[in-house]
Symmetry: C2
Subunit: 361 residues, 2 copies
């Protein structure tokens, strides 16, 4: 069946292969595999992880944690700094599951303790160079203050230190991603040692898909939390962290107008479908790349076929003249999304290649 509007299509076989590859890697490296579910936000996809032996997960909001808890997941880390305004939701979850929370200052730890009614575990967020959230080495006094507060608490248990080396996304080569990942792990190990905690007493956790895709060993780490790898996307392909054959998610969009004079076509698929996430490919800002969505050539990109502009519902495809001239209103074409997580979040439900609808938080 042809989709009527823009549709997000998922290949189950590729997802399962991506999950298996990462689970095997974690197992070989001797680290806990706690995948981030913010990418797919789907109970069905979550079950594919369960089939691969996964029992511990990461999410990015308490609402998402509640959604997965309802499907039986009972060991969930919310990888976002504690929002004190959500103490009610924290208590609801802490009453039911093993809940991991992120803390990066003593005052929040104290405030949380005043509101908490059930036990939860705490990871201290460390900034290993991304400079988004977390403590640095020079914040050691604050880090020790948090540990002291946790030490006195019967409800909050210190579990370890956590980082997200999101700066790998700005790397210009796979080699640079590896260097960032290695220095990030080293930094985490160093700060833990400076805090005086024996490595047997806690766990160090790293996250991002670029690092976890390129590295095979995670020295000193106890846990990895990649998320995007289940689908991969154009951004990962451009970073060199996946091949096209590993990309499991594609947008399929109707062509609504063809403008051969400027080598462009208009598709039904805009900012409310793809998201406005953009990357530079060479000198060009792009929002997606045209690609085959046929089974035999799935995700094979069309050279120089890029979404160069998105408004609310329109997308502008720019491609070589031969490609544009072959398009016709009323047909559909495939696109590799720039950022599979944001596209999944906007599309909400998506579809398997079989046509089966997939739930979404």
């Amino acid at each position: 069946m042809e989709p009527a509007g823009p549709r997000y299509l998922i290949r189950e076989d590729i997802c399962r292969e991506n999950i298996r590859t990462m689970a095997d890697k974690a197992s070989s490296a001797g680290v806990i595999f706690r995948p981030h579910f913010k990418t797919h936000q789907s109970r069905l996809v979550a079950r594919w992880f369960r089939d691969a032996g996964v029992t511990r997960i990461t999410v990015s909001s308490l609402g998402m944690a509640a959604y997965f808890q309802q499907d039986g997941w009972d060991d969930i880390t919310v990888a976002f700094p504690v929002n004190l305004l959500e103490a009610g939701l924290i208590n609801e979850l802490a009453a039911k599951i093993r809940l991991g929370l992120l803390i990066e200052d003593g005052e929040t730890a104290s405030s949380l303790l005043r509101k908490l009614k059930y036990p939860a575990e705490v990871y201290i967020k460390i900034d290993t160079g991304y400079h988004r959230t977390g403590l640095e080495k020079r914040d050691l006094p604050e880090l020790l203050r948090i540990l002291e507060i946790l030490d006195k608490s019967s409800l909050l248990t210190y579990r370890g230190m956590i980082t997200h080396a999101g700066n790998t996304y700005s790397a210009s080569s796979p080699g640079e991603i590896r260097r960032i990942a290695e220095s990030s792990m080293q930094y985490l190990t160093d700060i833990a040692r400076e805090a005086g905690i024996p490595s047997s007493k806690h766990l160090l956790s790293i996250g991002d898909t670029p690092s976890c895709s390129l590295l095979d060993r995670f020295p000193g780490m106890g846990e990895i939390r990649p998320g995007n790898f289940v689908f991969y996307d154009l951004m990962q392909k451009e970073l060199g962290t996946c091949s096209c054959r590993q990309i499991a998610a594609m947008m399929v969009c109707p062509v609504v107008a063809v403008h051969p004079r400027r080598n462009q076509a208009v598709i039904y698929g805009g900012a409310v479908h793809f998201s406005k996430e953009r990357i530079l490919v060479g000198e060009k800002t792009v929002y997606g790349q045209m690609a085959s969505c046929q089974p035999g050539s799935w995700a094979e990109p069309t050279k120089n076929g890029f979404l160069v502009s998105l408004s609310q519902e329109h997308g502008i495809l720019e491609a070589p003249a031969t490609v544009i001239r072959a398009l016709k209103p009323g047909t559909t074409i495939g696109f590799l999304p720039v950022h599979a997580c944001l596209t999944a979040n906007l599309m909400r439900g998506y579809y398997l290649v079989s046509g089966q609808a997939v739930d979404h938080f």
Copy 2:
């Protein structure tokens, strides 16, 4: 009541004032006011338009048209090129309401006619300089071909020509917006004359909020279709098409971490709330501006207080040291969104200042 997570807050009084201003302007200028509802996508907000005498509306998708049809709107233009794959939905709507469709090539007109079962009206999409969709003067043969097809049809009635001068959004000054708007109206008038249609036989329609906000007269036009003006936003403020006091929509987000050393704070509010729409303010790329959300000082922006980075759930606020040092985790702050339409689309439901929840398509 404090919001627990990010919340999109709407001032009904400001929306109603924005609606009244635009409705009065259309009335004085002698043009039909057919506002675009893709901005708010809400039945409640739609009723405020009805209170101001609006009976004809514009939407950007057939799904949105069906949503408003269910609330009694019966004269709807879908300002998006006909997607032939949605002929089923077109028929469902055409059976119930006065439906306006956009066509820009003869083949689509013919294909649509083969599938159509109920009458609908057609606007021919004209490209007056934005170069996204539509026909130009040199496409006159194609335009005449469409008119000929429509002329022979008993189901599709030619209604007029339509344009969206989205290039006003790239203007560097209000003066430039006015020039683009004027040349766009002139172009539309010229192409209609070249097609040989007497002005009494059809209607010319223009759209964008920047043009409709700055102009008082729309010579030759029969209809205006602005949408964003009901909320306005940071983009419009920077374009000089609204004042802060006209901005009706704000994001209210919890502070989750404060980093005084780099004059930054982390808020709960990211790409899945604001959207990744960005603009340049001076040399800086920003995703929102900090502003008061108190009744007396609503939407008054904080000088140099900008969202400088967004990941999936996190936002990074950069502001002067005195502003940052006054922030505390567990409190909330307001932000002017860059693009109110995309933020509304992501937040889905929003809230009135009274706390009342507002529906969203």
